[in-house]
Amino acid sequence: MSQKVIKYFGRTTDFRGNTLWELVSELPNWGVGRMLIRNMFQRYPEPCYMRILKVQAVDEQPGEERKVRVTVEKTWRGVTQPKPVEIYSTSYKADYELVPQDEEAKYLNNNKKVEEVVLPTLIDLPPLLREFVTEETGNSNPQMKVHFKRTHNKLARLAKDGEKPSVSFGVGLGQPKPVSAKLYEGLL
């Protein structure tokens, strides 16, 4: 008997796994305390996982994937969010995967952190605006404050006094990262 060949056709997807309802409905006690991952976030070297805290079933809607309201404690790129997060509107995505309990250590022991981005506090104005401001105030090199909004999962921060920022915001192209330096060969 020859090997059966499966031929796939149609559009491909980057999702891999099951919807949240498919996972949670099969488990004892709705899987509270178990660890989940989104396969889409496994592209990051830092640990991304969730732990189920509470599950609320939601009625099935005709013609749609069944959704479920799940409260999780979320860790994203090595940062655990201070408040529990509710997953509802994205629970239909077939991208969730349950972590077997003996493999949870793999995620818990991954201590990688995102490289910190330090933003400068002041940057140059755009050229035309700078001309206007110079004309109005007489200040030859006017600068503006960098917009920064503090959130609990932000990976960047403003530079403190005397600290050297890790990124520069010139008006020009800036300095490409070493990964993509090849794109500018012979240009810069």
């Binding site: 104005l125 605006l129 503006m144 915001f169 800036g174 990262k177 990964v179 993509s180 090849k182």
Partner: protein, 225 residues
């Protein structure tokens, strides 16, 4: 249908000069498109669009440029917003600083004006209320009189009706004169079966010669009972 409508479109939308004059059979098909409500074409039904992969270096670089652009744009907007606020604070009349004495005087002046307004409005209100009260009293009085009149009229009507009933009760057939009434009725059978021609001649019925007109009152009473 599609082709026809598109021809119409090209004809109307483009001037004659653009379609190359009358000598050339030049047809513009540039704006021809399947209307949105038609289903997917048969030839395209099983086409799978290709998903292009972005290389790592390209993705990183685009992300960096995007982040840089967004941060700069937000910073500029913040700068302009702050400038507007600063401008408003320094240039309008609302922000002229007053001394406490001036503020107090201003306040007292306002209170005075307010009191005058209040007094004036109170006077007007009192007048209006007095007038309304008078109107109300007059209205109530009028209604009371009208009611009295109505009542008297009603009483009078009732009296008249009672008198009329008493008057008519004299001819009622009671238990005492029942036999007499029956005898009268039997003795005087009334035949309504007669006819009158145009000349006024009366044609009597076959059975009796009695005509109802001859004894109207007694007959009618007999019939009604």
């Amino acid at each position: 249908m599609l082709r026809a409508s598109c021809q119409l479109l090209t004809q109307t939308a483009l001037p004659a000069g653009k379609s190359g004059g009358s000598g050339f059979a030049l047809e513009f098909v540039r704006w021809r498109r399947k209307p949105r409500w038609l289903p997917v074409a048969k030839s395209k039904m099983f086409r799978v669009p290709e998903r292009k992969k972005q290389s790592e270096e390209e993705r990183t670089e685009l992300m960096r440029l995007h982040n840089q652009y967004k941060t700069q744009l937000r910073s500029v907007r913040q700068f302009l917003r702050e400038e507007v606020v600063r401008h408003e604070e320094t240039s309008t009349a609302d922000h002229i600083v007053l001394t406490p004495e001036q503020e107090e005087a201003e306040f007292l002046k306002c209170v005075d004006i307010n009191a005058t307004w209040n007094a004036k409005i109170a006077k007007e209100r009192d007048q209006r209320l007095a007038k309304e009260r008078e109107d109300k009293v007059a209205y109530v009085q009028e209604r009371l009189e009208a009611r009295q009149l109505r009542e008297e009229e009603r009483r009078e009507q009732a009296n008249l009706r009672v008198l009329r009933e008493i008057e008519s009760s004299k001819t009622f057939i009671t238990r005492e004169n029942l036999d007499a009434a029956i005898e009268t009725a039997l003795a005087n059978p009334v035949d309504h079966n007669f006819a009158i021609d145009l000349a006024g001649n009366l044609y009597r019925g076959r059975n009796s010669s009695q005509v109802p007109d001859s004894t109207p009152s007694s007959n009618q009473h007999a019939l009604s009972n």
